[in-house]
Symmetry: C2
Subunit: 469 residues, 2 copies
C-alpha cells in the first residue's frame, strides 16, 4: 500500500492521489442498492492520458485491481469499489476537445458531463441525443461504460449508436485507438462497440469521438389519461405499428403520477391509471399529434391534452423527469429495474409487475420508455427493515425473470454491474458467457479491470504472469 | 477428401453437397480483382441450422477450412475459396421468417436477397434502409458479413445499425444466440456487433433479427452541375454544416457521368466536372431542396435542376446506380476503392485521386456517397496487360494511402477481405491487430473460418488441439 501510493505519486501530481479514508470512502459506490462496496486503497484523479497510463502500468506491476469511475450515478453497482482497489476517477478529464459541424462529431474526454456536452453542441445547432435521467451529473465516460439511454431513444437510440471511435488505455497501460472520425467505416472487428457497455472491464476510455445530429425543432407533446395500464399499452402498440416516429413516448403508472404530484405540485390527473406522454420534433408535428390523439381515444383514453406550446411540452417532460426522485421519496430506499420487453408484451410486463408488488406487499411505481418497451419498475423499501429489504430484492429478481419470460432483456440501458450479474448469465446462456470471458481475457489477462463486474472470470490473477513493460 | 464428402453427406441431403469441379469452380471467388482464389474441395448448400452445424462439426473434426458465402457480390475477396476448403454457401437459407410492424423487426435467414426483404417490408409500410448497389443480388448474410452500406447511409447509416440479434454457428458447430428482439438492450459485451463486418471469420450467421423503420415518403431529388470537383465538395460541406438531413447526397465525376450516358442514354450533362445529387424524404422536402439549391448555386453550380416528381427523382437515382456497371464498360476490368474521409477532406481526396490517375496513366472514374465522405474511385484497366495491371494495383493502393493521410479509413462499406488486409494493419496499428487476433482465437481457435481473410492469424492450426464434440 505504501508502495502503491508511492509508485502512483511518481507519475501523478500530488492532488491527484487521494488516500484520506474519509475521502476515499466517498468514492466507494454508485447509486445502486444491494451491491457490495469495498474500501479503496487509493483514489486517483488523473487529468491526462499519460497519467491514466501511469495508473494502469502501476496497477499491472503491483497486481492491484482498478475500478474506473465517472459520476457514480450508475444504478447497477458497476462503479463500486472493491477492497484495496485503485479507484480511477475520470471526472477531472472533462474537456470538450472539438465540436465540428461539418463532420457532425464531438471529441471529448470521458469526464465531460452529458448536459454540458448537450448544451455546447446545441449552441452550434447540433444535437447529442442520449439523455439519461441523470444527465446533469453523469459523464460521457460513464454513459459509454453502461451504454446509457434516456427519453430520446424511441427515435434516436442509445449511446452506443453515437460512439464512432475511442482512445482506450488498456489494463497494461498501452494506448489503443479504435474506430474513426468519419461518417462510415468498417475496417476490421468492431472494437469500439465492444468497449461500449463493457463497464470499464475491458479498458479505460480516455477520449471519445461522438456522432452528432442536426438539432431538431423543439418537440411538441401531448398527455393522454387511461383507465387502465392495458389500454395505455394498446395505444403504444398502435402508435408504433402505425408508422409514427415519436421523439418521446413515455408511460407513468398511477403510483408514479401521484408521487410526482406530491413532490412537484405538477397537477397531473391523480385518478388516471396510466398517463402516456407522446411528443414529435418534426417541423410540423400537428398531423402526427392529431393521429396519436385519435389512437389514444380509440384505445380508451379518458382525456387527451395536447400541450399548447413548447414550454408546456417542456413542463410535461419535467414531470416525467421527476418520476425517479418522486418515487425515491416514498420510502427510504429504492431499487430500479430496467427490463426491456417487446412492445407487444408491455401490458403483460406492467400487469405482472403490479402483481409482483401485491404478492410482495411493496410499493413498486413504474415509469417506462413505453415506445421502446423499456420499463423502470422502482421498488420502494426500507433497508432498515430486513424483512422488507428481503422482499424488495426478491421482487426485483422476479421482475427480471418476468422480463425474460416475455422475451425481453434484463437491462435496456442501465447495464449489468454487480446487481444483475447472475441474471446476465441467465439471459445470455453458458456459451455466450464463455465467449465473453474469452474476450475479457484477451483485453485484461490479469483480471485487474473492474473485477467481478458484468461477469466473473475464472482465474483473475494468474500467478507468475509476466509484467508488461 | 473422400472422408470429407462422406462425412458431409451423412448430415446433408445429396443435392446439398457438390463436388463436380466445374460447378465448385464457379463458387471460387467474389467480384474483387487482384485476389487469389483457390479450388474448393466441396461446396455445401445447407437449408437448415442443423445442417450448418453438421458442416462445421465436420470441418472441425477434419481440420478443413470453411469459407462462408452469400451471393459473392463482395468487392474485397472475402468470399474467395482457399484450396481444399469447404465453401459454405448460405443462399438456400432464404426465408423471411417474420416481419413485425409493432416491434419493427424482421427475422430472416442469411440467404434472403436484400431487395426481396426491402420489398417485403415495404408491403407492410416498413423500411429496411441498407441498399448496396448490388441489392438485387446480394444477401443479408453477406451484408452483415461486410457491414454493407449504400446510398441511404447519409441519413440512415449502414447495415450494422440494423442488426439487433444473431444466431451464429461457431467454428465447432455450437449454436450461439446474441443480442435481442427488443428495441433496446445492453446486457453484456456486444457480441452481435462483433460478428457484423467480421466477414465470416468468427462464425456463420444463420439467422438475423433486423431493425426496421416506418417507410418514409418517397424522396424528391435535385441535380446540380459544377464546374469543378472542389466546388461540388464545398457545396457538400455547406449542406452538411447547414443542418440538412438529406436522404441521399451523391457525387459523380465527369468520367462517371460520361460513362453513364454512354451506357444508358441518360442525358446527363457531359460538360459538367461534377454532378451532385441530393434528395429528401421528409413530408415536405421543398424547403430543404430550395435551401440546398441555393447552397449549390452559391458554391458555384452552373445549373441546378430539381426533379419534377418522385418518378423523375427515381430516374436520377437510376443514373447513379448505373455508375458502376457503366465504368465497368470502359476497360476489361475494374477495381473499386472504398475510402471514406472526413467530409472536409473530400475535395482533397477527389483531386488527389485525379492526380493518381494521371500519374499512373489510368482511367479512374469516381462516384461517391459524398454526404458521408465515402468515395468509390473505380480503377479501370486491362488485366491482360501486365504493365497496366501493375499500375492499376499501384494506383489502388495509393488511393488508400491518400485516404489514411487525410484522416480517413480504407473501407467505408466494402470490408477488408483479402484485398485490403495489409492496409487494415496499416490503419488499425499493431495493438489493435493484436487484440483482433486475440478475439479471432477466442471464437475460432483452430483458425478454420475463412482463413486469411480480414487478418492473418499467427498459428491457425495448432497441432493436437482437442476436437470439440
Amino acid at each position: 500500500m505504501g508502495d502503491l501510493t508511492e509508485m502512483l505519486r511518481a507519475g501523478l501530481p500530488p492532488e491527484a492521489v487521494v488516500t484520506d479514508p474519509d475521502v476515499t470512502a466517498s468514492y466507494a459506490h454508485d447509486m445502486a442498492s444491494f451491491c457490495a462496496a469495498g474500501a479503496p486503497a487509493v483514489v486517483v484523479l488523473p487529468r491526462t492520458v499519460e497519467q491514466v497510463q501511469h495508473v494502469m502500468r502501476t496497477a499491472t506491476a503491483l497486481r492491484v485491481p482498478v475500478v474506473p469511475q465517472g459520476a457514480r450515478t450508475g444504478l447497477s453497482g458497476a462503479a463500486n469499489a472493491t477492497d484495496g482497489c485503485i479507484v480511477l476517477s475520470l471526472v477531472k478529464m472533462d474537456r470538450i476537445l472539438e465540436i465540428d459541424a461539418v463532420e457532425r462529431i464531438a471529441v471529448v474526454e470521458p469526464g465531460v458531463v452529458n448536459a454540458d456536452l448537450s448544451r455546447a453542441v446545441a449552441d452550434q445547432g447540433l444535437y447529442y441525443p442520449p439523455d439519461p435521467s441523470s444527465w446533469e451529473q453523469c459523464t460521457i465516460g460513464g454513459n459509454i461504460g453502461t451504454a446509457s439511454g434516456g427519453l430520446c431513444c424511441v427515435k434516436y437510440g442509445v449511446t452506443a449508436e453515437y460512439v464512432l471511435g475511442l482512445d482506450v488505455v488498456l489494463a497494461d497501460g498501452r494506448l489503443l485507438r479504435t474506430g474513426r472520425r468519419t461518417a462510415k467505416g468498417v475496417a476490421g472487428y468492431d472494437l469500439t462497440r465492444l468497449f461500449v457497455g463493457s463497464e470499464g472491464s475491458l479498458g479505460v476510455v480516455v477520449r471519445a469521438v461522438l456522432a452528432l445530429r442536426p438539432a431538431p425543432p423543439q418537440q411538441l407533446a401531448l398527455a393522454a389519461e387511461f383507465p387502465s395500464v392495458a389500454a395505455a399499452c394498446e395505444a403504444v402498440r398502435q402508435i408504433m405499428a402505425g408508422g409514427h416516429a415519436p421523439s418521446l413516448l413515455e408511460l407513468m403508472d398511477r403510483t408514479c403520477v401521484r408521487a410526482v404530484n406530491a413532490l412537484g405540485n405538477m397537477g397531473l390527473p391523480e385518478s388516471t391509471e396510466a398517463l402516456l406522454l407522446a411528443a414529435f420534433d418534426t417541423p410540423d408535428p400537428a398531423p402526427d399529434l392529431a393521429a396519436v390523439a385519435e389512437v389514444c381515444t380509440r384505445a380508451g383514453a379518458t382525456e387527451v391534452v395536447p400541450a399548447e406550446d413548447a414550454a408546456e411540452s417542456e413542463l410535461l417532460l419535467q414531470a416525467r423527469r421527476m418520476a425517479l426522485p418522486a418515487l425515491e421519496r416514498l420510502r427510504p430506499a429504492t431499487m430500479i429495474d430496467d427490463v426491456c420487453v417487446p412492445r407487444s408484451a408491455l401490458a403483460d410486463m406492467l400487469q405482472g409487475t403490479a402483481a409482483i408488488a401485491r404478492e410482495h406487499d411493496l410499493t413498486i411505481g413504474v415509469c417506462a420508455h413505453a415506445g421502446d418497451g423499456n420499463t423502470h419498475p422502482v421498488v420502494c423499501f426500507d433497508p432498515a427493515d430486513p424483512e422488507e429489504a428481503r422482499r424488495a430484492r426478491a421482487s426485483f429478481d422476479r421482475i427480471m425473470a418476468l422480463g425474460l419470460e416475455l422475451g425481453g432483456t434484463i437491462t435496456g440501458e442501465h447495464g449489468v454491474g454487480l446487481l444483475k450479474k447472475q441474471w446476465l448469465a441467465e439471459e445470455a446462456g453458458p456459451l455466450a458467457m464463455e465467449l465473453q470471458r474469452g474476450i475479457k481475457a484477451v483485453f485484461d489477462p490479469l483480471g485487474l479491470l473492474n473485477p467481478g463486474k458484468v461477469l466473473d472470470v475464472a482465474a483473475p490473477h494468474p500467478i507468475g504472469f509476466p509484467t508488461p513493460t
